[in-house]
Every structure is written in structure tokens, then in C-alpha cells.
């Protein structure tokens, strides 16, 4: 069945280092994901948490939100959910970047987070939950690519 670990932390960038440490330790101890796959996991989770933190901090309520990281660690796979309460968005209507050859690609300094998550994971799902967003990332020890 695997282990379940949950971490709730303040929606602040300086907590990303803690998130990476936790995810790295639990994946290394509880799964057979090779190191390169744990690198992928660390980056995908950082992107999801950075988006959650950004969204929480865009709220003008002055309320300092928190972000919830939920992890399920099994020998062959790690599932991580990142949940925020920052209102949500529509992941199917994001403007894609121009290809890197086109000079106007350089106008886009942002918008790489979700494409990176999709490339790095064996599955990414977004769902609305509790007035915000939950991103679910699946990484297996034997990736499809």
C-alpha cells in the first residue's frame, strides 16, 4: 500500500528548499526511483509548489495562506499532490510558447512550469478542490519515455 506523508507549510518561496529535501528523502528511502528520476520529481514538485505559492500570494486578502503537500510513496512509484486554496485557474486555456527558433520566444520569461511538469511526470492532473487547485503528479521508477 505504501507510505503516506503530508506536509503543510506557509505559502512562501523560502519553503521550497524544505519541500525538495522532504521529497528527496522519502523517495530515496521508500521507492526504487533512480536518482535521475528523483531529480525529475524534485523539479516537478518545485514547479507545482511555486505555482501554488504564487497564486496564494496574488490573493489580495492579506491572508497568509499555506500549501499542502501530500505524498504516497511505493516501491515502483511516487504520487505527490500539491494543494492550495487560492481560487483556482483553467489549466486547459494556457497560451503555449512559440518554438525556441522564433525570435519572439524570448518575450516569454514565464509559463514554463506546467510544460515542465508534464514533461517530467508520468501523469499530471489538475482538479479544483476546496476553493483552490490540487495538482497530482505521478512519477514511476520506469518512466514511459
Amino acid at each position: 500500500m505504501g507510505d503516506r506523508i503530508e506536509l503543510d507549510f506557509p505559502a512562501r518561496p523560502d519553503y521550497l528548499a524544505l519541500v525538495r529535501t522532504v521529497v528527496t528523502m522519502i523517495a530515496a528511502a521508500g521507492s526504487k526511483l533512480p536518482d535521475t528520476r528523483i531529480d525529475d520529481l524534485r523539479l516537478a514538485v518545485t514547479e507545482a509548489c511555486a505555482n501554488a505559492i504564487d497564486a496564494e500570494r496574488r490573493l489580495t486578502t492579506g491572508h497568509h495562506g499555506s500549501v499542502v503537500l501530500r505524498c504516497w510513496v511505493e516501491p515502483e512509484q511516487v504520487v505527490i499532490e500539491v494543494h492550495d486554496g487560492a481560487g483556482g485557474f483553467d489549466p486547459d486555456h494556457l497560451v503555449p510558447h512559440p518554438p525556441p527558433q522564433r525570435p519572439d520566444r524570448l518575450q516569454f520569461e514565464r509559463g514554463l512550469g506546467i510544460p515542465l511538469m508534464r514533461e517530467l511526470s508520468d501523469g499530471v492532473e489538475f482538479r479544483a478542490e476546496g476553493g483552490g487547485t490540487t495538482v497530482r503528479l505521478l512519477l514511476t521508477s520506469d518512466p514511459r519515455r
Binding site: 518561496p13 525538495r20 531529480d39 523539479l43 518554438p99 516569454f108 520569461e109 514554463l112 515542465l116
Partner: protein
């Protein structure tokens, strides 16, 4: 972030983990070099342990400004885990990436 001078290039060596917490300082530092009129920049990523999309975005922004000023930006990057971030975003084709500072400051096109 240690910066030095090599054959007319300003070399900035980054280290540690670059994410939304630390990227703003990297951006500031690079923009300060541009503001000083430095037009040929080498950014050494070989001591960087982690690079996320915000870090990539900073480098894209610097590349754009350098080009506008008629200058040049070169990266030094050999660590597989960092190279991979450029590859999967296809930004390896937007940047001039070198194996060493020596290679980067030598004239000519990327090897």
C-alpha cells in the same frame, strides 16, 4: 555569485539552488552587469545544484536584453541534471551552451 573578468567577458559563477526564492537575486546581479555596460556575459552553471523554470526565465530575460544591446550571452553547463532542464524545454537551442569557461570565452561559435 562570484563575478570575474576573462578576455573581455564578464563571467558570473552561480551556485546553490535557483528557484523562485533565489532567482530574484540572480536576475538583479545579471541586470546590474548589463547596466554597467557589460555586453559579453558568461554565466557558469556548473556549481548549480538545482534550476527551475524561474531560473530559466531569468536567463531568457537576460538573453533578450543582451541581444537588444547587440551583446552576447554564453552559458557553461555540463551537469546532466541541469543540461536536462534546457533540453526538455528545448531552450538548449536558444542558448549558446559550452563545456567550460575557457571554451565559452574563446572566439567563434559554440562547439
Amino acid at each position: 555569485m562570484a563575478s570575474s573578468e576573462r578576455d573581455g567577458w564578464a563571467v558570473l559563477a552561480l551556485s546553490g539552488e535557483i528557484d523562485i526564492a533565489t532567482a530574484p537575486r540572480v536576475r538583479e546581479r545579471l541586470y546590474a552587469l548589463l547596466a554597467e555596460g557589460r555586453e559579453r556575459l558568461v554565466v557558469d552553471l556548473d556549481d548549480v545544484g538545482f534550476l527551475d523554470s524561474t531560473g530559466l526565465g531569468v536567463l531568457v530575460g537576460v538573453l533578450k536584453r543582451v541581444r537588444t544591446q547587440g551583446g552576447e550571452l554564453r552559458l557553461v553547463c555540463t551537469q546532466p541534471r541541469i543540461v536536462k532542464v534546457f533540453e526538455i524545454t528545448r531552450l538548449d537551442s536558444a542558448f549558446a551552451i559550452f563545456d567550460s569557461i575557457d571554451g565559452a570565452v574563446r572566439d567563434g561559435s559554440p562547439s
